[in-house]
């Protein structure tokens, strides 16, 4: 018995000594969720995925540091919502968009901070991709055509994002191209030493920024193929965006030159068609899906949708435009693209509040048509202008309503006003109002943000259907500092070497 135990002890001791001597490796683990920089551009398929990753950043970027709860920043929903809430044609009914609607942002408020952050996040992803494409081409991972297409797409995304930064955070080009612009980023920041280099890029002038936008878009136009649907940038998208940029520059001849190059698109007979799938009007949209969207706290169908249909109805059509004399009472867009309940009237452009897969329109052919109309009007080609205007307007009106004529509109000013009004109607709920306020105020045609229906006071349908007085408030003069957004405080605080200047008055 004793013998046995001591044998056991010996065996145990031997085993123990063996265990002691052997060590085990537990600290050399490898990531399961991150593909290292060095391996990312290794195959064509991965590069395609990287390109998709840039679209993802644009469609569902992060909000307050989280991409999981992304609210559709920047382009998946937020540019539309912020663009609408800065204007007077859509009405804020709740706390959610109140700061934007009432113009009470400061360097800390969430919307300007997240718009800034998420736009530059797209830009950096695009620049990282642009950098990685060249070695992939030279090493034969990509063909020339593949590389060209990806490069064109990335330049488009970079321009689209920078332009959005410009219209929110800088004064308009139409006022003074020499005024303070934004940091325009053309190199990636994907390594620690590049941080300081990136910090050194300051606020160039608005004029320089627009010049870079045009340069990016000119190159993109050359590189991109035609066609391929609205989900990815193509030649039409590059030209379309260039038209928009030139409109903001007041380069009317340039607008017309570019417009002449746009082919393959048409205004749809049914004004609702661009929102009910792909149509000839849709040039570029960000695609949302059941799995990837702005969530119930951001997606357009959730935020704009009629509560009776399952939406949240936080934003309504403003009774100001609904009751305006320039929106014809028989306009079919009043029926086709809105919805109502006892509390008011809602946009019905986005109709899928449960799954939230409505695409977010970014560029539509109708916008280019109206921009071309404006350019013609500006250049004195009033009849051409009105013809273009009518091609958008008449499709929404019964035959009994006569088309506009230049004479009937009272000449150039009347034609321009009619074009601006038509754009407000046609693009209601698409976030295009603010960019127009921005550029038109810059040239002195508007004085900043007009008075809006008072926030949270339009709680009943009778504001739309009767002559009940609409309380108004929240106008912002062009001269006010609040006309443009403050640079986020975080941006200035965390730039250790060369913080950019804040916009005056904040």
């Amino acid at each position: 018995m004793k013998m046995k135990i001591s044998t056991k002890i010996k065996a145990g001791l031997t085993g123990f000594a063996f265990m002691w001597a052997s060590s085990c490796d537990v600290i050399d683990t490898l990531p399961a969720t991150i593909i290292p920089d060095a391996e990312a551009f290794a195959t064509a398929a991965r590069i395609e995925s990287i390109v998709f990753g840039v679209y993802e950043a644009a469609q569902r970027g992060f909000f307050n540091g989280s991409s999981v709860n992304g609210r559709g920043y920047p382009f998946g929903a937020a540019t539309v919502q912020q663009g609408d809430m800065r204007g007077e044609d859509m009405y804020n009914d709740q706390l959610f968009y109140e700061i934007t609607y009432t113009g009470t942002y400061n360097p800390n408020t969430a919307n300007n901070n997240n718009m800034w952050s998420s736009l530059y996040r797209v830009i950096n992803r695009a620049n990282i991709t642009l950098e990685g494409l060249e070695p992939a081409l030279s090493e034969g991972v990509l063909t020339q055509d593949q590389r060209n297409r990806y490069r064109g797409e990335m330049l488009f995304m970079r321009a689209l994002s920078h332009h959005e930064v410009l219209i929110h955070f800088a004064r308009p080009y139409t006022d003074d191209p020499g005024s303070m612009g934004i940091p325009y980023r053309i190199f990636p920041i994907n390594d620690v030493p590049l941080v300081t280099e990136g910090e050194a890029v300051g606020r160039t002038t608005v004029g320089e920024d627009y010049a870079q936008l045009i340069a990016d878009l000119d190159e993109a136009e050359q590189l991109l193929p035609e066609g391929g649907g609205m989900a990815r940038a193509n030649k039409g998208a590059a030209i379309g965006l260039k038209i928009r940029v030139k409109q903001h520059m007041g380069d009317w001849q340039g607008v017309l030159t570019e417009f002449a190059k746009v082919t393959g698109y048409a205004v749809t007979a049914n004004p609702a068609a661009p929102f009910r799938g792909t149509s000839t009007d849709n040039i570029f949209s960000f695609i949302n899906s059941a799995e990837s969207n702005g969530t119930v706290n951001g997606a357009l169908p959730a935020m704009y949708g009629n509560p009776a249909d399952g939406g949240r109805g936080l934003v309504k059509v403003s009774p100001l435009i609904w009751r305006s004399n320039f929106w014809h009472p028989e306009d079919t867009r009043r029926e086709l693209l809105t919805s109502r309940n006892a509390a008011g009237i809602y946009s019905a452009k986005y109709i899928d509040p449960i799954t939230r897969a409505d695409p977010t329109p970014i560029l539509r052919y109708s916008e280019l048509v109206l921009t071309a109309a404006e350019a013609n009007a500006r250049l004195g080609n009033l009849d051409v202008a009105v013809t273009l205007l009518n091609s958008v307007r008449d499709r929404a009106l019964p035959a009994s309503v006569p088309s506009f004529t230049a004479a009937g509109l009272g000449g150039q000013e009347g034609v321009l006003t009619a074009i601006f009004n038509e754009k407000r109607i046609e693009f209601l709920g698409e976030g295009r109002r603010w960019p127009d306020i921005h550029r038109l105020s810059g040239e002195g045609r508007m004085d900043g943000v007009p008075a809006k229906a008072s926030s949270r006071q339009i709680g009943n349908l009778d504001f739309y259907t009767t002559d009940r007085v609409i309380p108004t408030d929240h106008a912002i003069a062009y001269s006010s500092n609040a006309f443009i957004w403050p640079i986020p405080l975080e941006e200035i605080l965390t730039n250790a070497t060369a913080p950019i200047p804040q916009n005056p008055g904040y």
């Binding site: 995925s49 540091g65 009470t104 996040r121 830009i123 309380p471 975080e490 941006e491």
Partner: protein, 1030 residues
């Protein structure tokens, strides 16, 4: 064995006299540890100097003078016991161990050490004072019981984890919780639930715990090396002891209630206020007098029933000792829909194979089920948010609304039924009663935790030990949201399920050598290796758009939903270490400890994975010196230590903070990969240098422990913020940037205040003072409420400076730099205007801009502590435990939110709003929708910043021990001990803070802190209980 030696020592020095008189009483003293007799016990005739000492076999004989009534038995390590003599001549006594003095032996990590030889800073906490309290988890009850240890329970949600900070906050963006080691196995301290707060420490049955040791300074913690940057809590669970089986059953039952509620407007007041907001803004009011006065808080708060049952058996032979326990608790929170159930089982076994080989195992299994709720601070269905905002002039129920089960909901389900008001509540908030009744947030955790060890005495004094431990958490979540109304409406029903396990194994080998050289030199050398691997993984499934809500009640049911989602994740973290420690003692007078370790951690890049860490300490027992001659001071020891440790809890457990590259992203156009982290291959160890100097002293009946410490943390691993326009992922890069220092002073005093007859009063007081300063930081780190900046304490409140209400026009006044400005609340003329105190009504000049921000107060308490008083009188015992804290400021966001300017309910203080010129008040003129300008909601606001000082009566416990004679005669020896108790936890607080409770805190991280924001009020518990020993 140590006790025996100590007993003999006492025998030698105890002075006693024998007076020949009357009769002789004999007997034998035994204990469960030493059933064959406890030697050296002091037997004293009560009220006299007559006494005796027990022999080696525990027997004694004492001459009892006439008129004596009782014998008092006392011995180190046992509770003093008084036994009536009566007419007996034989008095046998079973002594009960005194766990408090047993901690004369201190568990110090990979071993034990005698308290008198400890040179580090270690506080022992006996679980006896804690185990009967009604509590979801043990650690919340450690608050106030040890100096340098700060524990706050930031909300009344069962399952929410307390915040534990040992000697301040020692990391900026890493974990700041201490390492928790249970029976030698480091616990996984990770809440794996996605649907509820599920405190991982709530899986442990508090009744299974014998004692806690809190290791605070560098010397004590150094042996845990890099995992010890935030201090260590060692937990020892109960183990068996030789003797016949002892069965004990403990039960307590009670009621949980909320400590406080918000004072909100009733329906009638609401109508007045709501309409005034709108008419002041030029509109027409939408609120309509209904005669209904609803307080929605009546629905969400309740008296929750709580019960705890524990049954344990311990015993054993010479060779084999066992401890088995089963526990059950079911606690309902004071907030509806929230409860916690735990079933637990433990088996601890020790067996001596031979005199030289020992093996043992600890095994614990628990099943914890938590039902939670949405209490998001600004979630539309957040219980506290919603119940304090919802319209008070509409009813909660509408019996005719059968589509919504009789709740008052709009017919389309979009919001709370708002009739007769003309509009619904702000943000279309739902009827929270419907949401709380129908939505399910369930978290279930199976936790298996245990270890097996073998110990071998190789030669005299040399012991090898190997232990393999595991900690497995199987976390299972279920969330179901009703499609009709509330959070599930937007998705037409929503079910989420998740399995999120985490598994850790830990293998520790130590070699320990003890040697006494030349009688006076004692060496104790420990060498060891440790390997630890932790694997986190999860997968989830989710469905929305359900065909029928019948299918959402218990589980995901295939085929019942249109949109199907799944997800998953994986990460693993490894850690290894090679370490050594030498303890040296010269006659117990000069003491020294040296530790060294080399740690490796998978979270750092390959070149920087390993780090060396050293520590050392010395102690000097002055009272043992010949020159020391004091009749007042019986013991005095000075000790000092210095050590450097790393921090493995960097960046909240991010597995690969240094790795740069592309993560998976799912866009609407398809799955892609997105640039998700900037590489930093220079990332290295975060280091903290801990210095401590302390003094232990016994003066008469008072024991004092004083410590001064500094904890200097350098190379902080920080998600260093980058300018957002750089577009760097997360706007940050993990870098070793920054340093901070915590300095503090601790005091603990224990004393027997009074012993008069059968009345004994013991007191135990502790006090800590601590300052925190960030000494180096790349750039200020700013959140909504807080800012952390170089040269200041971390997470100070930062925001706007309120200057009152302009009595002339009701406009709010704020500081813009040094100038007072006002926000003009006049329709059509809204905006910032200058303010002239001599002409306050002048609003003609636009201000140059809005208000500016400044520091508004530190959020970390500067002083805190606790004070326990124990009284016993005959069979009664009473404990009164106070806890205090202060020197910090709180941003009362709950209150700011309740002064909102929308169509929702308000705090009653809004009735003081400005209404007429010349009125002095602190509430401006009401104006619909002007929350942002009026209250500057984008940051903290000095208007709502308050001091957080408090003194809390934490527990009052009254117990009565049934007389043992009565028990033995009544139950024939079947019941050996029985104690009834009544207790109240958290009965009162003394504070100037105007919110619900100064410890409520929305944030648990380091960079955002000190914000009371719609948190569920903490709980007060009344309970009755019984401890029975068989």
């Amino acid at each position: 064995m140590k006790k025996v030696l100590l007993g003999f020592a006492l025998t030698l020095i105890t002075v006693f006299s024998v007076v020949a008189q009357s009769r002789t009483v004999t007997g034998r003293v035994t204990s469960t540890d030493e059933p064959d007799g406890v030697p050296g016990v002091n037997v004293q005739v009560k009220g006299s100097t007559v006494g005796a000492i027990t022999d080696l076999d525990g027997t004694y004989s004492v001459n009892v003078p006439d008129g004596s009534t009782a014998l008092v038995f006392s011995f180190v390590g046992y509770l003093t016991q008084e036994v009536a003599i009566g007419n007996r001549t034989v008095v046998d006594v079973l002594l009960a161990p005194d766990v408090k003095t047993l901690s004369e032996v201190v568990v110090v990590g990979y071993g034990t050490q005698e308290r008198r030889e400890v040179t580090g800073s270690v506080t022992s906490i006996d679980n006896a004072a804690i185990e009967n309290l009604v509590t979801p988890s043990f650690e919340s009850q450690l608050a106030g019981r040890a100096p340098g240890v700060q524990i706050t329970t930031p909300s009344g949600i069962l399952g929410a984890r307390p915040i534990i900070r040992i000697r301040g906050v020692n990391s900026l963006s890493g974990g700041a919780n201490p390492l928790i080691v249970i029976d030698g196995v480091p616990l996984v301290d990770s809440d794996r639930s996605s649907v509820n707060a599920s405190n991982p420490l709530a899986n442990i049955n508090p009744a299974d715990i014998e004692s806690f040791e809190v290791l605070k300074d560098g010397s004590a913690t150094a042996i845990f090396g890099s995992r010890a940057a935030n201090g260590v809590i060692l937990i020892t669970t109960k183990r068996g002891s030789t003797g016949k089986a002892q069965v004990s059953y403990n039960v307590s039952m009670g009621v949980n209630e909320e400590v406080n509620r918000f004072q909100v407007l009733n329906g009638d007041q609401f109508v007045t206020i709501a309409n005034e907001k709108v008419t002041n803004a030029g509109g027409t009011g939408n609120a309509v007098q209904s005669g209904v006065n609803t307080n929605w808080q009546d629905f969400i708060f309740r008296n929750g029933f709580a019960q705890q049952h524990n049954l344990s058996i311990r015993g054993g032979s010479e060779a084999t000792k066992y401890f088995f326990s089963i526990g059950f608790t079911d606690q309902e929170s004071a907030i509806i829909a929230n409860d916690l159930k735990r079933y637990s089982f433990r088996a601890n076994i020790d067996h001596d194979i031979s005199r030289r080989v020992r093996i043992g195992a600890t095994t614990a299994y628990s099943y914890t089920e938590i039902n939670g709720l949405n209490n998001g601070a600004n979630s539309l269905s957040g219980a506290v948010y919603n119940a304090t905002r919802n319209l008070p002039n509409v009813p909660i129920f509408d019996s005719e609304n059968t589509a919504f089960d009789g709740f008052n909901v709009q017919p389309d389900g979009s919001t709370t039924g708002f009739a007769p008001n003309l509009v619904g509540p702000d943000n279309n908030i739902p009827n929270v009663a419907f949401a709380l009744t129908n939505n399910i947030y369930r978290n279930r955790v199976h936790r298996i935790n245990g270890a097996t060890f073998a110990e071998l005495d190789i030669v005299e004094g040399l012991t090898a030990r190997s232990q393999i431990g595991i900690d497995l958490t199987l976390n299972d979540d279920f969330q179901s949201l009703d499609p009709r109304h509330g959070d599930g409406r937007g998705s037409n029903g929503f079910v989420f399920m998740q399995m999120a396990p985490v598994f850790r194994w830990n293998w520790t080998n130590t070699l320990n050598y003890q040697k006494i050289v030349a009688e006076d030199h004692t060496f104790n050398v420990t060498l060891g290796t440790e390997y630890q691997y932790t694997n986190f993984y999860n997968f989830s499934a989710q469905g929305t758009d359900f065909s029928d809500r019948f299918y959402i009640q218990r589980n995901l049911i295939s085929g019942s939903y249109n949109n199907q989602f799944s997800g998953g994740g994986f990460s693993d973290i490894g850690f290894d270490s090679y370490f050594g420690r030498v303890n040296y003692s010269y006659r117990g007078k000069y003491l020294a400890t040296v530790t060294a370790r080399n740690d490796g951690m998978s979270q750092l890049p390959a070149d920087n994975r390993r780090g060396w860490f050293f520590g050392g300490s010395v102690g000097w027992r002055i009272s043992d010196e010949n020159f020391f001659n004091s009749s007042v001071i019986s013991d005095m020891k000075i000790r000092t230590s210095y050590a450097e440790v790393g921090n493995t809890e960097i960046l909240d457990g991010q597995a690969f903070p240094y790795a740069g590259g592309f993560g998976p992203v799912l866009g609407g156009a398809g799955a892609g990969i997105g640039y998700s982290n900037v590489a930093n291959n220079a990332l290295g160890w975060e280091r903290s240098a801990k210095f401590n100097i302390g003094l232990d002293m016994t003066v008469g009946q008072v024991t004092l422990m004083l410590d001064y410490f500094t904890n200097d943390v350098t190379d902080l691993v920080l998600n260093a913020p980058t300018a957002s326009s750089l577009g760097v992922p997360g706007n940050s890069i993990s870098q070793n940037i920054g340093s901070l220092i915590n300095r503090g002073f601790e005091l603990r005093a224990l004393a027997k205040v009074m012993e008069r007859g059968n009345f004994i009063w013991n007191t135990d007081f502790n006090f800590s003072f601590i300052t925190n300063e960030v000494t180096n930081l790349i750039s200020p780190i700013t959140g909504t409420y807080n800012r952390t900046e170089e040269g200041r304490p971390m997470a100070e409140l930062y925001g706007f400076t309120w200057m009152g209400v302009n009595a002339a026009n009701g406009n709010p006044l704020y500081l813009r730099n040094d100038d007072v400005i006002q926000y003009n609340l006049q329709q059509g003329a809204l905006g910032w205007r200058t303010y002239d105190a001599n002409n306050p009504g002048d609003v003609s000049t636009a201000a140059a801009g809005g208000p500016t921000q400044d520091f508004l107060g530190n959020t970390l308490p500067k002083w805190y502590g606790g004070w326990t008083n124990n009284f016993s009188y005959n069979n009664f015992d009473l404990e009164i435990f106070l806890r205090y804290s202060g020197g910090n400021f709180i941003m009362n966001e709950s209150y700011r939110g309740l002064l909102g300017q929308g169509f929702s309910n308000n705090h009653v203080d809004i009735l003081n709003r400005w209404t007429e010129s010349g009125q002095t008040t602190d509430i401006p003129r009401l104006y619909s929708g002007q929350d942002q300008n009026m209250w500057q909601t984008s940051a903290s606001n000095s208007r709502f910043v308050e001091k957080g000082d408090f003194v809390r009566v934490q527990n009052i416990v009254l117990g009565y021990r049934l007389p043992s004679q009565w028990l033995s005669s009544t139950f024939n020896g079947a019941i050996s001990t029985a104690r009834f108790f009544a207790q109240v936890q958290n009965p009162f607080i003394f504070t100037g803070y105007t919110g619900l409770d100064p410890e409520l805190n929305q944030f648990q991280g380091q960079l955002s802190f000190g914000v009371d924001w719609n948190v569920a009020p903490i709980i007060r518990t009344w309970s009755l209980g019984l401890n029975v020993g068989f």
